[in-house]
């Protein structure tokens, strides 16, 4: 048996395994799709409820409180630009995708990260897996997802969650392990219960790192959500993908501008929130 025959066999196995999973797990995957899409639709509905200027205003206000007045002005204008380019619905559905994926990624990543922070063995066990996820080209995750969940936002969400989870796990675990030894000792000497040790001593020290993890997850999600345009995610990703296929350069650039605006606004706001929430300004 030569080597190409061997890989052929391997490929066959993989295909039939995937087929078997999709045949036998159909109802399960249907259910997963419904839950994901329900969550996404809910968030999207909320974001589409107010007119664009109200959202731009709220973002500008948050930006003013958390960053500064220039950032507030700029972010308000930039969001208005998205509206004037005729891309407001797409921008909101992209935001909804990113938020949904990030919320799921954090719900998975933070608890696992906390566990990994306490149990070094778990951390060491997961490390190669996280490395693998982060080194593979991200669109790889679209393939199994599309096979199991079909064309649509659910597939985009799963692939985005996979990409957004590793930084949440890594930075949470790092934060938990970063608590200085003398504060653990202080807690023990004060007779602190394990729960209070976690919430009053470990968590405050871990918070900056966890916040950085949240920010990183968001950024990964933004990156993936555009790629997920290929599988019919909706939103700006699909706009850009469609524009590229028809060589409509103007629209693809508009979509790119909208995505950059959204990413930068969210990035700056979460970074500042992290700084304010964790460290007191000197």
């Amino acid at each position: 048996m030569d080597s190409s025959a061997f890989t052929d066999v391997f490929d066959e196995w993989t295909d039939s395994a995937l087929e078997w999973v999709s045949d036998n797990g159909e109802s399960l995957f249907d259910y997963i799709r419904q839950v994901l899409e329900g969550l996404y639709d809910g968030i999207l509905w909320l974001l589409q409820l107010p007119p664009f200027y109200l959202i731009a205003l709220v973002v500008a206000l948050i930006g003013w409180r958390l960053v500064n007045v220039w950032f507030a002005l700029l972010s308000g204008i930039a969001l208005a630009l998205c509206f004037w380019m005729g891309l407001w619905p797409e921008t909101m559905s992209t935001l909804a995708l990113v938020l949904t994926a990030t919320v799921i990624a954090l719900a998975i990543g933070i608890p696992i990260g906390i566990a990994a922070g306490f149990f070094t063995a778990l951390d060491r066990f997961m490390e190669p897996g996280l490395d693998l996820i982060q080194t593979l080209p991200p669109y790889i995750y679209l393939l199994p997802a599309i096979a199991l969940l079909g064309y649509g936002p659910a597939t985009a969400l799963i692939a985005t969650v996979i990409v957004a989870v590793p930084p949440a796990i890594r930075l949470t675990s790092l934060g938990i392990r970063m608590t200085p030894k003398e504060f653990i000792e202080l807690g023990e000497a004060l007779g602190v219960t394990p729960a209070k040790m976690f919430f009053k001593i470990r968590l405050p020290f871990a918070l900056p790192s966890i916040m950085a993890g949240i920010n990183q997850s968001l950024m990964m999600a933004f990156g993936m959500v555009v790629i997920a345009g290929i599988v019919g995610s909706g939103g700006l990703g699909e706009t850009i993908y469609g524009a590229i296929r028809t060589l409509d350069i103007a629209t693809s650039i508009n979509g790119a501008i909208a995505i950059v605006v959204l990413t930068m606004v969210i990035d700056r706001i979460t970074q500042s929130a992290a700084r304010l929430g964790t460290g007191r300004k000197a």
Binding site: P180, E182, F183, E185, L186, G187, E188, A189, L190, G191, V192, T193, K196, K200, I201, P204, T278, G279, R280, A282
Partner: protein, 363 residues
């Protein structure tokens, strides 16, 4: 039976033959120390384990400041952590207020640490995101005491350490000495009977250090607390401690008052340590005085009744001043209206050298 009870009541911390062996095979190492009497080096070679504390026994009495003095690596920091079971001993018992720490449930141990044993660290360990008041109240907060009450108690504790005006500041706004005061206030706020001080002043500059030493001693005495105080500085131990234990290589070489240690060092190591310490304020009249009969034999013409008088607790410094003021060459030591001894210039000189009375009679 009754006498034993009274004594046990006065001893707040009683540790009997404590051992701590560090390393993955510490249990096996401990066993062969007991069975085969292995030394520190053999344990390291055979089990790759380090003996941190070796057969240490101390008693800390109510109201006393007990200093443990040793250089780095002497095991003093390990020993103090055995006293509140931050480190679990490999062998031996720690009784705090008559209760064996090893027999306490985790909840009881937490209760004991929260209520009975305060601790102050060299690193201070103030939570950076909390104000001075919140830090001082932290021990009470984790005990679940309501905010108004804990803030009141913590403010009072901060006032005792002279930080009443700094309540709403953050730790990074305070000098090292002030941070250490907050650490002390945090320990005092829970009103423990025992305070464990792990080299609290070692990182401070000498002037502040001295000030804090005096304040700490006054405060501890005024509040009627007992303290175990770790230091690598013999001067500090003498300044603060009622009794001092000297540690080397995990072993307590000698325990006693500063005077006892200086006059009768247990070995060459201790002798070398105490060589540089000024005796003027440490050695008292009762240690250097000659007996009345002996004095009368050597100087039959002296009328003891005409001599200047002092008490057995007068230190060498006072005795020198008295001798210089007096016209006669001797001072009578009087206890309860009875002359118990005579201090001569010769005995003073011996005292300054740090030699006690028995040697004096031999000479």
């Amino acid at each position: 039976m009754k006498a034993v009870n009274i004594e046990a009541k006065d001893v707040l911390i009683d540790c009997q033959s404590l051992w701590k062996v560090f390393g993955s095979k510490s249990a096996a190492a401990m066993k062969s120390i007991k069975e085969r009497g292995l030394g520190k080096n053999e344990v390291l070679k055979e089990f790759n384990c380090v003996v941190g504390v070796s057969d240490a026994s101390i008693e800390v009495r109510r109201g006393e400041i007990f200093c443990i003095m040793g250089l780095s690596g002497s095991g003093k920091s390990t020993l103090i952590r055995l006293l509140n079971k931050l480190i679990t001993p490999s062998s031996g018992k720690v009784l705090v207020k008559g209760r064996d720490l090893a027999s306490l449930s985790p909840a009881d141990l937490r209760q004991m640490r929260a209520k009975n044993i305060g601790m102050v660290f060299q690193s201070v360990a103030l939570l950076p995101h909390r104000t001075v008041l919140e830090n001082a109240a932290f021990g009470l907060e984790v005990q679940g005491i309501a905010k108004a009450e804990r803030n009141k108690t913590a403010s009072a504790a901060l006032e005792k350490v002279g930080l009443a005006d700094w309540l709403s500041r953050y730790p990074n706004e305070l000098s090292g000495g002030m941070q250490q005061r907050v650490g002390l206030a945090r320990a005092l706020a829970s009103d423990p009977e025992i305070i464990l001080m792990d080299e609290p002043f070692s990182a401070l500059d000498p002037l502040i250090r001295r000030q804090l030493q005096d304040e700490f001693r006054q405060l501890t005495k005024a509040l009627g607390k007992s303290a175990v105080f770790i230091t690598h500085d013999l001067d500090e131990a003498i300044r603060i401690g009622d009794r001092i234990a000297i540690m080397k290589d995990g072993v307590i070489i000698q325990t006693g008052t500063a005077e006892e240690i200086i006059l009768n060092p247990a070995d060459a190591y201790v002798a070398e340590f105490v060589a540089g310490i000024s005796r003027l304020h440490l050695i008292k009249a009762h240690s250097v005085m000659r007996s009345v009969t002996e004095f009368q034999q050597s100087a039959p013409n002296f009328d003891i009744a005409s001599l200047a008088r002092t008490t057995p607790d007068a230190d060498i410094d006072e005795l020198i001043s008295l001798t210089m003021q007096s016209e006669r060459d001797a001072i009578a030591v009087v206890d309860n209206d009875r002359v118990v001894g005579v201090v001569t210039p010769r005995s003073l000189l011996m005292g300054v050298k740090g030699t006690s009375a028995p040697d004096l009679t031999a000479a």
